[in-house]
């Protein structure tokens, strides 16, 4: 049994609704509908339970959290629980007046996603003509004295604009920019062939980031995420399964990772039935890959086992067919070369038409 740690972050997926339709969205393919969403009083209870359990920061996410009409109320209850409140938004659905109310409710940080540095391309990637409004949201955020992070999910169509994203972040007076090569979960996995960048693109973004980091230290924090497909070592996914992060989905399922529902055989409990603390402590889905006991070779006994925790379970499932396998992002995985070859082949081919994220169509006979 691994020693139990308390989670630091709560990822609160308030809704799966979103006006955008990004093909890289990491939401699951079977999106949760509005009727099934938790209400604000239930979120209030979750925030109180999370703070008591040791959570310090809540990341209000989705979908688009601003699609919830009661977002101000939800933010207020998170702040009342003394959680650091971070809003992860596309900006669509926010007005200046609403942002004034969010700030008064205690919102502490706005993380605004932008799909590309040029409006037409940004709107094409988002499947929604909203990029101009995002600039208003950035402006209001700064005017209201809130810290702003510009979040740029990178993939084949925009990876070459990394330097422009950094310039945009400076122009917006953001304190932080996240240049995150997308990871391939949910819709992103479905659309991988359309999204995968080439190795040369990755290398250029690394150069841009290194140069900008030394030039802008103390002025702009630059966070950079490599795509696993080109990595030599796996990321410690979620800081280790059931160690640092707890995820609550729109309808109240409690997950160790936002993609965990793709893993067959895992049973997820709901906040409607048990407390967050109980689910965290001995919920079977949390126990399944906590610590190192579940590991197979080459992870078992590896010196890095308690540093990277064997990488990502969902990726092991997607690419090795077994959630308990070593993440193929690791050079020691027998699947590593195949993963890299897949990325190289997909990125070299003409991109297929991506499938925009959408709710399942109702089938009428």
């Amino acid at each position: 049994m691994a020693a139990l740690t308390a989670p630091i972050g709560l990822l609160a997926e308030l809704t799966h609704r979103c006006p955008l339709a990004c093909a890289y969205c990491s939401n699951p393919l079977d999106l949760v509908r509005q009727q099934a969403e938790l209400d604000a009083p239930t979120w209030e209870r979750i925030f109180r339970e999370a703070a008591a359990l040791g959570v310090l920061q809540v990341h209000l996410s989705g979908g688009e959290p601003a699609s919830r009409r009661d977002l101000v109320e939800i933010v207020a209850s998170a702040r009342a629980a003394d959680l650091y409140t971070n809003l992860i938004t596309s900006g669509i659905g926010l007005t200046r007046e609403r942002m004034v109310r969010l700030r008064a409710a205690g919102l502490e940080h706005v993380q605004l996603s932008i799909q590309d540095t040029e409006a037409a391309s940004s709107d094409r990637i988002a499947g929604y003509a909203g990029s101009v409004r995002k600039h208003d949201v950035a402006k209001w955020t700064i005017e209201l004295g809130l810290p702003l992070t510009l979040n740029a999910p990178l993939h084949r169509a925009n990876a070459d604009h990394a330097a422009d994203f950094i310039a945009m972040a400076l122009a917006m007076e953001a304190g932080r920019v996240e240049l995150a090569h997308i990871q391939y979960y949910g819709w992103g996995l479905l659309n991988r062939a359309a999204l995968m960048p080439t190795l040369a693109q990755i290398e250029r973004t690394i150069d841009v980031v290194n140069e900008a980091r030394s030039r802008l230290a103390g002025r702009l924090v630059i966070d950079f995420v490599l795509p696993d497909y080109y990595a030599e070592a796996p990321k410690p996914c979620m800081g280790g399964w059931g160690r640092e992060v707890i995820v609550v989905t729109p309808e109240g399922s409690v997950l160790p990772c936002h993609a965990a529902r793709t893993i067959p055989g895992l049973a997820f409990e709901t906040v409607r039935a048990r407390s967050l603390a109980d689910i965290w402590t001995d919920g079977t889905a949390f126990e399944a890959f906590r610590g190192t006991d579940w590991m197979q070779a080459p992870c078992r006994g590896c010196a890095n086992a308690e540093r990277d925790w064997g990488g990502c379970r969902c990726q092991a499932l997607a690419l090795a067919g077994d959630a308990a396998a070593t993440d193929p992002a690791c050079a020691l995985s027998p699947r590593h070369a195949a993963m890299r070859a897949l990325a190289e082949a997909e990125s070299a081919a003409d991109p297929p038409e991506p499938q925009p994220r959408r709710f399942p169509q109702l089938v009428v006979d």
């Binding site: 308390a6 008591a52 650091y84 940080h109 992070t149 304190g175």
Partner: protein, 87 residues
Amino acid sequence: MIPRLRPGVRIHRDRVRDRWVLLAPERVVEIDDQAHAILARVDGTATVEVIAAALADEYEADAAEITSDAAALLGDLNHKGYVAWLR
């Protein structure tokens, strides 16, 4: 030089883990008691010297030494984006 915490950065008592932390965008940084004593006096008006003098007084320590410790801590936190210099 007058330090202040950047917007979105605050000091928080992490009761579950019995420690002080700085909460910031996508970051949680543990701070020790000495760092906490310094940061608790960062208010956007006090200079490093004024902060150090107050601490030297309170803990009956050498002001020059505390000034250099405080400047090092705040310089490091500035570099990492948690602290801004007003002047």
